[in-house]
Symmetry: C2
Subunit: 296 residues, 2 copies
């Protein structure tokens, strides 16, 4: 990773961490565990890649940073809720996440389900609040786009396909669709949210979506490679799980060499979409290249 | 129940059923089970009391019926998602709902969790869509109010308290707060949504919230009485469960006689709040009285 990108990621992650902390409830009543589980699920880790996409695309349109930070938090709430629910015993049954016990292990299953529900709901609360943007049309566009990206035709649909696909032999088209829904849709929302906040013209918004689709696919291929090649200590969660479950992945279909080449190509293609922008987009270009070079 | 109220409830329920059906996806791909579970959770039953509150309060302000119906569906999506998640083994562990197997019994736990997630997300998608209201400020106000009513400071918080309270001896103040969050907040949103759609002045909106709070509390007391006194065949779900779990309820604290008297008082008080309105509010007045007279 370039020093500039590393510094930018660290700086944004710190701002996001502080903002998430301020948003999350901290009650001491009978619902104290719910609040604690929401905080546990969101705070203290994660690359904050989606928030970074929001902040960096918002910067392209000189959007007020405080507004962009709210959208970044909303997306991170959705991302964190999806991890909490995906880790549940009835789903992927994971005990470890970012090197720590998963939420249902640290608390219990009921609290994990409810904490996920509350985080998802919080995302929409944050977006719809007048502080997110003075123009209510922007707020309601953000809500609509996030809902479409994260519901049955987006992230949740992708997770269902992922579960249904265990033991099935998906082809490359099906795997691509699965990932486009499961991880791609939310990444695409993150990348276009800066354009929504900045009221950019439609073609600019679409360019950022195209960037995000290539980036998301490259990111997933890199993730699949890490699952096959990384150790769990290095990665901070269990590895080799896809193979153990007979899950088709980009790597199982293409083989590691072709998957690596394809990911590199997609990362370059993602960066190419940004030709529309000047040096302000350099962090996004560097992010695309880092996505496929990372080890965890 | 008066004939007029019965006819109005039936007519609204039919419109809501058709609208829910039109909103819900019907795919045949790998995510077919998700779609089927969402439909199973929402269609074919339920009193549709919350949608009725939306439609009737919207009528007070001559709101376009198609717009109100969309908000009614959004609230019903949230209500249905909450039932799906509450019924899960890790939560209330119920096998029966409205006389049918619960979603995780008819499908599986993973699909039930995801169907709930997708329904919650769908609610915000529907509210934020331009067809719900031409004014984006109204749409974003609806989203914000629904998120506040259904998240950690509303319905989800109430469910967490409910789980934490098993075996605890709550006092009447704690039980009242629990119910205000768990069921009252969403009912209050339903009752004020007509005023939001109709851009009614703040004091009118607050009057409807006051109506809803009394109605919601009366409704819950009646529910507690039905749980103690009804048979499961009559009610369509397991009864006597609160007692079996040592859960404090209005009935366990007040005793059935005082709970019944208190519920009747609240129902009258709810109706009294509607003095602001003319005969257009008669269905709402009748609803308040029926709430405490019903047997299921």
């Amino acid at each position: 990773m370039t020093d500039t990108l590393a510094q930018a990621l660290t700086a944004t992650a710190a701002k996001v961490e502080a903002a998430l902390d301020a948003f999350l409830p901290k009650g001491d009543g009978l619902e104290a565990d719910l609040h604690a589980a929401m905080r546990y699920a969101c705070l203290g880790g994660g690359k904050r890649m989606r928030p970074f996409l929001v902040m960096e695309t918002a910067r392209l349109f000189s959007v007020d940073e405080a507004c962009a930070l709210r959208v970044a938090c909303a997306i991170e709430f959705v991302h964190c809720y999806s991890l909490v629910h995906d880790d549940l015993p009835a789903m992927d049954d994971d005990d470890l996440r970012r090197g720590r016990p998963t939420v249902h292990k640290a608390f219990d299953e009921a609290t994990a389900i409810l904490a996920g529900d509350a985080l998802l709901t919080k995302a929409f609360e944050v977006l719809a609040h007048p502080l997110t943007h003075a123009d209510p049309l922007v707020r309601s566009d953000l809500v609509l786009a996030l809902a479409l990206a994260s519901g049955a035709d987006g992230m949740v649909g992708g997770q269902q396909i992922d579960l249904a696909a265990e033991g099935e032999s998906l082809d490359i088209g099906q795997i691509t669709r699965l990932q486009r829904l499961k991880t791609g849709a939310l990444i695409a929302f993150a990348a276009q949210s800066g354009a929504i906040l900045g009221k950019a013209p439609a073609h600019v918004r679409h360019t950022l979506v195209a960037f995000a689709h290539d980036l998301g696919l490259a990111f997933q291929m890199a993730d699949d490679l890490i699952d096959v090649e990384g150790s769990s200590v290095e990665v901070g969660k269990a590895t080799g799980k896809d193979q153990a479950r007979g899950k088709a992945t980009f790597v199982s279909i293409l083989g590691p060499e072709r998957a690596r080449a394809q990911a590199a190509l997609l990362a370059e293609q993602a960066a190419k979409h940004l030709d529309l922008f000047d040096a302000k987009a350099d962090n996004l270009r560097a992010l695309a290249r880092w996505t496929v070079a990372r080890k965890s």
